[in-house]
Symmetry: C2
Subunit: 375 residues, 2 copies
């Protein structure tokens, strides 16, 4: 019997509510499984950890995360620990990513049937058929380069940050994008996004992406987009970016958030942050990759505690966890098809299972229960 | 009789075609004017300058621009001078901005009646009533900080760029945003965009914007948005950003392009890059500000020479030139209302004056002629 350790970080705001549903789904899948055992350990992280321990990322949490096969996270932060607080949750998240070495952030921007496009802010003619994976470099670039705050000598009236990339950092994220592209047949095209007409780090980026793909994955189509033009295309004709959008940390932060509002509901979308290239589902040799999985929505303090948050982003994050870190592709697909069924089920009044974000009035728990039922 | 020198830089692609129409409009306004004389001088700039002189920004062009009261530009660049060319147009543009000291880039994202929202990729319910001015810092930040290319010692496998801001740079652009906000009654709110949860330069930005507005313009409402969340809001509920969006160079590059596709046609939108804060239209003492005016669209090589490009972005840029650099507010308004009339005129078949980008088949010249006629 295979045994896996999964650390659960419920976090703040709606985090605990949505994580509880994903845990419910995982338990339903594995509680009576003869071949797989999941050991779930819940730890403090984020604002709740600051309140209890004074730190966003307590040493015991970090230790547990490092020893785990994978981590499932809710969401962190909230007005209680805002910009003016001495200790804030966000640096804890950056420290956790860095300590775990999860350099590859993967975000599908589409889930489920086109029945959801009614929720998109874009016209149906623009948004129908959009299918983009954003692959964002997560532990390099301007997030982790040297910086200087204002009021520090010399030049106290100046502050700066460094956007820095090495050849090796760009190679490894390019290989992750390639693996994601190859998981489809025919392989998806890769759209690499940079600002090579201005930035030296982007010129390195463009050169290394090109060389890596040409020499290691010649079967994948590649084009390059400037970040300003990509931000425009995502709104005006997003289908032109169908495939994999590969980009550095800061551009990825901006573009993946922009992309995530296109398909209609943020609440549905999962993300995976990996410490290595994922194995192809078709390959016979699964290589485990430790990873941090979380929905892409925030902690939504305004609706916390009301039991109305959409747990699907977290449930689908759990599916990605099974796929990429535990090699349980079949179980991942079970979850995904159960979610799809739940979303597509209709009753006399129309779509049956919709939380408030999708215009319905079904609660967080009911969605989880229904998905467990379908499983 | 007041006399002004205006340098005209037609540039590449559709640049010469659209600039010709704006020049036509300016001539119609002032050719027989008893009080204002406009001296228009055309110079080489961009790809066409590279072809003729080997440089994107020839010394004589720079000299003329420095001596002028204002500059009207078409668009530059094209595949002929792509990333692999030794000399490219873009560094010429950055050098021109820096040499002229035009630190404030101003882009309204709305023009004309709501009749145009049909062209927006966003649903009408989302895009109706959106009215945003983007104010982008244009000669600081990561565009002009120190950088190191790959293959340069030490650490040849690494490249980096520096995002750097001083207190003074942020103060002066904040004052421009404040002037734009105060030109409306009641003053528009300012949404300052940064990434203060990660970047030191953004923390300086946020602090200086806050202090400058609180002490000098307490009547203006201010809030702060993270750049990822602003990129999302622009698509999902852009009206929440109505007012002035104030941001640094790179974020402004991305967000202003993203914002520009919201109202429906890129081809309509002008921009102004100013070397100082603009005078309020209501103030009695106009202070001239030298400036560079251009439509926000690119050189569109695919449609160059066909006579179908939309000249309205350039014509409205000429209006901004009259307003901000020459203090001819009334003439600016004359152009703007003529354009509005042209856009709103209908014939039996529907909207009469639409170029291809707006779904019509009226040519570049016809639009210019018609606007002159209305004037
Ligand atoms: C919280 C913040 C530091 C973080 C980031 O910028 O990476 C967030 O926006 C994200 O995208 O996960
Ligand atoms: C051409 C390029 C260098 C320029 C920029 O990034 O500033 C352009 O995108 C713009 O916004 O005017």
């Amino acid at each position: 019997k295979k045994s896996f350790r999964v650390v659960v970080l419920p976090g703040d705001g709606i985090g605990p509510e949505v994580v509880a549903e994903a845990v419910k789904v995982l338990k339903a899948l594995f509680e009576e499984s003869p071949d797989v055992e999941l050991k779930l350990e819940t730890r403090l992280f984020g604002g709740c950890a600051i309140d209890e321990t004074g730190e966003a990322l307590p040493a015991s949490t970090l230790q547990a995360c490092k020893e785990a096969d994978a981590i499932l996270m809710g969401s962190i932060g909230g007005p209680k620990w805002g910009v003016n607080s001495k200790v804030r949750p966000e640096p804890g998240l950056l420290a956790l990513r860095k300590a775990l070495g999860v350099f590859a952030n993967i975000r599908p921007t589409k889930f489920g049937s086109d029945s959801l496009v009614v929720n998109s802010p874009l016209k149906e003619s623009i948004t129908r058929g959009v299918d983009i994976f954003v692959v964002r470099e997560l532990i390099g670039g301007i997030y982790f380069g040297e910086r200087k705050e204002q009021d520090v000598a010399p030049q106290e009236n100046v502050a700066w940050d460094t956007m820095i990339y090495s050849v090796e950092e760009v190679q490894r994220i390019t290989r992750v994008a390639a693996q994601i592209a190859l998981a489809s047949d025919p392989p998806l095209p890769i759209h690499s996004v940079d600002k090579a007409n201005v930035l030296a780090s982007s010129r390195l980026w463009r050169k290394v992406v090109t060389e890596t793909l040409e020499s290691e994955y010649p079967q994948i189509k590649l084009d390059h987009q400037l970040v300003d033009s990509a931000a425009m295309l995502l709104v005006s004709s997003p289908r032109k970016l169908n495939g994999v959008v590969l980009t550095e940390n800061l551009f990825g932060d901006i573009l993946s958030d922009e992309a995530s509002v296109i398909p209609g509901s943020l609440g549905l979308l999962p993300s995976a942050s990996l410490a290595g290239a994922p194995s192809l589902p078709s390959s016979h040799s699964f290589k485990p990759t430790s990873g941090l999985y979380e929905p892409i929505h925030g902690s939504a303090p305004d609706i916390a505690g009301k039991g109305i948050a959409n747990p699907i982003g977290t449930i689908l994050s759990a599916a990605l966890l099974l796929r990429y870190s535990l090699g349980l592709e079949k179980h991942a697909q079970l979850i995904e098809s159960a979610v799809r069924k739940a979303l597509d089920s209709k009753n006399a009044g129309g779509w049956e299972l919709r939380t408030a974000d999708l215009g319905g009035n079904i609660g967080t728990k009911e969605i989880g229960d229904r998905i467990v039922e379908i499983l």
